[in-house]
């Protein structure tokens, strides 16, 4: 009696356990990258901001390279009188955007700002950046796991380093 009553719950437990493991395993597969990436993304990317050139900063931030895309629209003045305050913005028609970053190639540290987007946040951002001198400005959009970029040259008449 005792053996049978014991046996059943145990067997059921094992079966349930196996079933739920299978379910979790299957269910998680498509989303596995999602939560892990979100958690990693929550941290301030200290290393990326320390990189001097633009390619290293992109690699440190995203771990991959970007391809130019006309779906990324970067808006910045052609001539900036004051390099300390240059209004720049990015909009994109790409779907599933998770991040937009700005890099100022000629600055001491290339990465200027990086923004994270969730579902429901419009993939567009405007901000103001410092530019040490005339420079190439690069915008990176991360969409559906891929990187897309747009670049523009900005002429700076008075550098933004205060010196």
């Amino acid at each position: 009696m005792t053996t049978t009553t014991r046996l059943h719950p145990t067997r059921r437990l094992i079966l349930q356990g196996a079933a739920s493991v299978a379910l979790i395993g299957l269910g998680n597969l498509p989303f596995a990258a999602g939560p892990a990436r979100a958690a990693a993304n929550d941290k301030y990317p200290e290393e990326a901001f320390k990189q001097k050139n633009e390619a290293d900063a992109i690699k440190a931030l995203y771990g991959k390279t970007a391809e130019p895309s006309d779906k990324v629209k970067l808006d910045a003045p052609e001539i900036a009188e004051n390099g300390g305050v240059v209004p720049v913005s990015v909009t994109t028609t790409l779907d599933k955007v998770t991040s937009i970053s700005f890099l100022v190639a000629e600055n001491p540290f290339a990465l200027a700002a990086s923004y994270k987007f969730v579902d429901g946040t419009i993939p567009a951002v405007a901000n103001r950046l410092k530019m040490a001198k005339s420079t190439k400005l690069v915008a990176i959009v991360e969409a559906d796991g891929k990187l897309y970029s747009a670049a523009k040259d900005v002429k700076v008449t008075v550098g933004g380093c205060g010196g």
Binding site: F109, L111, A112, A113, G120, T121, R128, L129
Partner: protein
């Protein structure tokens, strides 16, 4: 002390447009003061906008963001009267938080 954060969040149908202006020196650590000494780096590293218990927009900033930073973005789902929580932290451990009602 008055908040360092000024926010305007306006609802336009389903889309809420958010503009924020923060008072902060955003010192790069590369500029000297008149006495010739380097002014230590002092800049905002992370700025978060939280609505309905989740971060709708997170900004990671380096020293190249202008003094008294400005940022603009939009998101879907919020209604007039909803609260938006804004908070920043800087590299010296400073921080500030405020809430804004969506108008």
């Amino acid at each position: 002390m008055a908040s360092s954060i000024r926010v305007r969040a306006t609802s336009n149908g389903d889309i809420t447009e958010v503009q924020a202006l923060i008072q902060h020196p955003m010192d790069t650590g590369l500029v000297k003061n008149p006495a010739g000494e380097l002014i230590p780096a002092h800049y905002i590293q992370q700025l978060k906008f939280e609505w309905n218990g989740k971060d709708v927009f997170v900004a990671d900033w380096g020293t190249a963001v202008s003094k008294d930073p400005y940022v603009k973005f939009s998101f879907k789902g919020a209604k007039k009267g909803d609260e938006l929580k804004i908070s920043w932290t800087d590299n010296k451990g400073g921080s500030d938080t405020t809430t804004a009602k969506i108008a």
